[in-house]
Structures are given as C-alpha cells and as structure tokens.
Amino acid sequence: MDKMESIEQFKTFRKKRLGKRDSVIATIVVPAGTCGRASGAGRIIHIIEQELAGKNLIGKIAMRVTGCHGFCEMEPSLLIEPENTFYPKVDPYKIPSIIEAVVRREVLEELLLKDPHTGRPLARQDELPFYSKQVRTILSRNERIDPVSIESYIDDGGYSATVRVFEKAEPKWIVSEVKASGLRGRGGAGFPTGLKWEMFASQPNGRGKYLVCNADEGDPGAYMDRSVLEGNPHGIIEGMIIGAYGTGATEGILYVRNEYPLAIKNFDIALQQARQSGLLGKNILGTDFSFDITIVRGAGAFVCGEETAMIHSIEGKMGEPRQRPPFPIQKGIKGRPTAINNVETWANIPVIIEDGAHAFSSTGTKNNCGTKIFSLVGKIRNTGLVEVPMGISIKEIIDDIGGGPSGKARIKAVQTGGPSGGCIPADKFDIPIDYDSLTKVGSIMGSGGMIVMDENTCMVDIAKYFMNFLKDESCGKCFTCRKGIQRMYEILDDISKGRGTLEQLDLLDELAVVVKDTSMCGLGQTASNPVLSTLRYFRDEYIEHVAKKHCPAGVCRELISYLINENCTGCRACVKVCPVGAITGLKKERHTIDTVKCIKCGACRSTCKFEAVDV
C-alpha cells in the first residue's frame, strides 16, 4: 500500500476498496491466536489451503486467518461467513466435507454445538448461549479482520476515527469526549481515563511527552490483552494516535511482556504497515502532527505492570516502583510527562470517537460505562474470553455464558483481579460486576481475570498459591511487602500441612492488614487481598485445616490420602499412569495404593472410569 500524504488520499483509498466487487460467496474464518495455534489451528489452516487450491475454489471461497475470537474451549473452531455458522472443535479430517457444505450453502448439523437444554443443533454463533449475553464491541473486530493486514482494518472502518479527529482539528475535543464517555482504566484500578488525559494534556511537552500502552499482562489467568494485541494491533495503534493528538504526546511506547511472541510479531508488522501508509511517523497524513510508537519488551517481571516500575524498566533499570507524588503524568520516563493506559483502554478509544461518547456511556451502569473483557477460566464449562456490559451479574456470566461447572462439583467461588484481587463466594454471585461493587466485597476488578473454583479447590491452597507467586514477584524493596508476604506464605504453608494453630490465624489477619497499609506500591498494597478475602468468606475451611487437620477439598497433600474403594474392577488403568509406581494389584482384583510412595498427584483419580479412587 502506498504512503498517503493527505486525508483526501486516505478517503479515496478507502472508497476505492469499498467499491471493489467481490466474487467470494463465503469466507471461512479461522481463529488462530496463541490458543488457537496451540489447539491445532495451524494444521487446519494448512488443510483448508490445500483443499481450496485442489478443488479450484480460490476466488469463490476465501479463508481469513484472524486472532482470538474468545471461545477458546471450542478451538480449533471455524466461523463461516456470511451466515455466521459456528463449527466447534473441528476435526481436521472433516474439513473437506465442511468446505463442500459451504459451497452448497448448507450446514453440517452433526458437527454443530447442541443447545444444552433442548438438544437442538445451533448453527449460528449468536445462537450459542456463550455469545448470547455478550456485547462484543472490541472482540467482534477480531473476527472481521486479518490482524496483519492494514487494508483489512481499513475495510472494516479502521482509521476512520483518526481521520475524523484530524478533520475536526480540535485536540481538546478528544479529551472531552473521552471524559464524557466515562471510560475508566481497564488495567485494574479503574481511574477515569478522561481525567488522566485532561491532567496529562495540561503538562508541557517541550522536552517530550510519552504515551505508553501497558501490555505487561502479568495476572495469571488473564489473557485479554494478548488477544486484542494479536487480533487487532491496528486498533491499539489508532487509539494511541488519537490519544497523542488529543494530549500533545510526542512519543508512544508499547511495553509488552516477553511471553507474548505472537502479539509482539503482529504488532511489529502493524507498526511497519502504518508507517509505510503514512499513518505513523513525521507529518501524519500531511498534517503537522508527528507521532511514532516503539516496542519495549518486558523480561519476566510481574511488578513491571505497576506504572512507576514500568517507567524504570523502560529506562533500563530494575523494575522497582517509586513513591508518588510525583505522578507519572507529571514526571515519568526520563522525568517527562507520561500517561500509561492498558491495552483494553486503548482499544476503546477509536470506538468512543467513532460511535460517540453518548453511545459508549449508554452501555453499562452509571459510573461504570462500556464493556469489559473477562477471561473466564478454571472449573467452568465454557472457558474463554467474554466481553460483557458493565453491571452484568456474576451469576449471569457463570450460568448463562459459562454454562455452569465443568465437572460434577458445585461452583464455590470466583476469583477476580489476579493476585491483587480476592475470592467471591457463590452466595454473592448476584452482585453486579463493576469497579465499586467488587471492591466492596473485598476483591477488585483488576485486569479481568475471572477464575472459577469448585468444591475441589481448597481456598487455603489458593491463598498460599498467590503468596507463593507474590513473594517471588515482589521487587523486594519494602520490608513489609517482602517479609510480610514471605511470612504469610509460611503461615499458610503451616496451615496446609496440618501444623497451623488458631493463634496463627489471628496473626495472619493482623499481618495481612499491616502489609496492606504500609507497602509503597500497588503490589504490596493488594497482596493481602487473597488472604483477607478467603479468611473473610471461607474461614471454616481454615479452621478445619487447623483444628481437625483436614482439607475438605482434598487438595492439601499432607492432609489427605488416596484410597481405592470397592468400585475397583482391577483394570490396571491407574497402575499405568502412576508416576511413582505406588499402585499394586492383580488383574481383575481390587488394587491398593501404597500411601507411603503415593505423591497424591491425582493421576489415578482422573484416569479411573469407575470412581474407585477416594480422597
């Protein structure tokens, strides 16, 4: 694509593409983000290519390889446009017949998902319960575009918001629109973006002003940002161009974690395309506005998601947070004003400019506008990314969209906000999902991780898991954060191994409060949340560990033992999977587990078809 030197050239280019006649009758869309590829999408793409070439269908049936659509549980999946037929868990061998069906404009019913209540096969994606309550403002674009094609993005209406902004030529208008939309930072804290930008815009830019996209998605269990970066990098670029124009920023940085190679690759390609087209660099589209974006890769530090730690990391130092004031918008990278926003926040900017602040603020609830993408994972049937309006209840997400528990065990809790968040018990599932309600129950919105836990999850183990994570991710500067988290872990370890006392539970409470109060940065200040929330809602589990030396969920290994009951048919399936050879028994006879050798990995339990292994 040639470099465009003016707004007019852009409009002409876009018009030309829209006017192009398309002979394609149908498009097979293959979601191939990291999840998709790990599930075998690469092979599927290869086979489709071969089939289309071999059957002479190129030009009649198109294939579009996209990023993640969100229904990761069902990948590798296929979406057939224009009917929006959804084929889940596609078997590569069935691809030729699927393609034939597409040619005939028919649907293979036996391959479709069935309605969980009626059993009726569901052909269209929007009929599926998983999609029905979602409002896929951001994620739907992942379906419609090829992430590494700027033309594809422009065809879908991309960069029109940018043109609109340039034509209006009123930077202040951008900030006021974002403010009016009510957008709050999607990274976790939920600070009003418009307010941040207003303060940032008033800072002088003589020595440079930075805009940063925070893609250091470190929360375990959260991968929304990865999907947006992989599936729609131009959307982020456009958001940043608009943001820079509105606030006077001179340089942009994408700080992305090292563990997202596909996202980095796609974003890099998109940057090059934007530069080649004249949408990034000096004198964008012939205006006197210049702006470009550099990619800075993280190096495996969760704490670098914190604003001041990220600034230090970008400066080539250790990712140690520093005290605020001064705030990043006053003094950030190299002492210059810096505004940091999350990937999802950036993705919402073109939407706000395109659709208008009023439209944006009509979704969601008062003070919590717009949609939010959550990663719904754990012990839930339909795992994946869901985009829902703010204010929807947890119950609706778990039951309607998620489809309920993945196994027989009842869902007990939902953990939101990653290591900075807390566990919300099932009896509170009717609360709306918004920044304030979640804080009130002792958790936080966080970046959007939503981990579903059932009766086989031990809450003491969960608290211990998070402390284990945080004690290595803390930068270690603040004594209370470093030592406090370590000591909380020690106590939880004692409790999980049957050595806990009731006094230790009180000590844990006291310590958690002090760590929360005295730590300097967000990591330490929220580190206590998993402990405090599990103590608040699941204290009975703690007491059972301490008083009865028993783990009700059957997880804490020192407190459980595996036994084979009379259901055993002697099929020896468990013997084969036991990694330490702890199971003995003759064929057709009830087996026994050597409890000394047994490491309680659970392999036998998950293999046994007769429910013969008890905990």
Binding site: R482, V514, T518
Partner: protein
C-alpha cells in the same frame, strides 16, 4: 513555603522538606531504620510511616520520602500507625534478633515477643550500605541483586570488587551486622525485653561471641517460671 498540619499543629516548611524532617522540627519522634542524615532517603524499612489524609482517603506513607504538601494533614502516632510499627518491629525481630538497633526499637515500643518462625539474617536490606558506598564513598561497589524473597546485597558476580576501597563504610552504617547486641557489656544491654526471644545461650552455635552477662541469666530465670 508549604503549610501543613502535623498532629493538629500548623507548621510552615520549605518546599522539598519531607514529612520526617517537618515532624522532627516540631519534636515529634518517628522511628527510622533505613534513614540516616547525609544519605538520600530510601523508604525501605517502612518504620517511619505516618498517616495522611482523612477518612476513607487516609493512608500510610513513609515520612522519610514523602514531600510536604500544601494543606496536608499528618498524624504521626495514630492507632493505625502504631499497629503498623509494632508489626514491623515483630517482623524485624523475627529476622534479625541480634541487632541492638532493632532490639532497642522493639523495647521502646513495648514489643515483648515475636510470633513468627525465628530466622537469623545478617541483613534487612535497608540499603544503607549501598547508598553509603555510592553517595558518600563514590565507589558503587555493591548493589541489590535478584528480587522478592531472593533479594540480596553484594558485589557483581559475588567476587572481589575492583572499585571497593575497603573503607568499611558499609559496615559502619549497618544496623544489623555492626551493632550486635553486646550482652557482655551491661551498660549497653537493653532492658531485658529480649527475654522472650530465644536466649542467646541456647543459640550459641549461631553467634558464639555472644555472652550472657547476667549470672544467673535473667532469660533463663524468666523462662523457668
């Protein structure tokens, strides 16, 4: 000049003054461990925390690093602050019980016990030695390595430093290793508040130059009851 309110008293200080300096000016005692005049403030030990703000916005910040702000309301000894200090001192005793500086602080705040698993660390990572070496001695021979629980201070690659001039400044400022509790000098011993910790006579393998000066040992006497 910046006007703020500390413990109900109005004070005017120059821009750039920290809350710690302002409180000292008014005579309010705030304990510190990682702060020393002449070196830049770091804010690692968290002992100097004070409460600022009001109602739901109230929070604790380290006074050694927080600059005075116009109209700020500061409380140096609210219950939240005292609770935090006590817990921090317990944690310090649990890590570094042999440090006289920490014992004195604990004693002054009425800490008589620590409820954690006893460790005997040489270092609390206050960073005084690092700042001494960099700022006063201009050598920068030692620094922080690793992160979180594994964070330590040392020379790069743990080998002899080419820039270290063996000045001993790092040991001079260290609250943990230089100023060990010297039980064999009665004038320097603290009030006996260490009695509830593991008595040094039992831990002789850890610190064999530590002698119990009391005969019979008060610690042993108390424990017998």
């Amino acid at each position: 000049m910046v006007n703020l309110v500390i413990n109900g008293l109005h004070v005017s200080v120059e821009r750039g003054t920290t809350l710690l300096e302002a409180a000292k000016f008014l005579g309010f005692p705030i304990p510190t461990l990682c702060h020393i005049d002449g070196l830049s403030p770091y804010g690692a030990c968290r002992l100097c925390v004070v409460e600022i703000g009001e109602d739901s916005n109230a929070k604790l910040v380290s006074s050694c690093t927080y600059p005075a702000e116009e109209g700020l309301k500061v409380r140096t000894a609210s219950s939240r602050v005292l609770r935090a200090r006590k817990m921090i001192l317990e944690l310090l005793l649990a890590s570094c019980p042999q440090s006289k500086v920490i014992q004195d602080l604990a004693s002054a705040h009425g800490i008589r016990q620590q409820r954690f698993k006893q460790e005997h660390d040489d270092c609390i990572l206050c960073g005084l030695c690092v700042r001494m070496c960099e700022e006063q001695m201009m050598a920068k021979a030692i620094g922080f390595r690793n992160r979180g629980q594994k964070r330590t201070i040392g020379t790069p690659f743990d080998i002899k430093s080419e820039v270290c001039r063996l000045c001993g400044g790092c040991m001079y400022v260290c609250p943990a290793c230089q100023l060990r509790c010297t039980y064999n000098e009665p004038e320097k011993a603290i009030c006996g508040g260490c009695a509830n910790l593991t008595p040094p006579c039992v831990e002789k393998e850890q610190f064999d130059d530590m002698m119990c000066y009391m005969d019979p040992c008060v610690a042993c006497e108390i424990k017998k009851d």
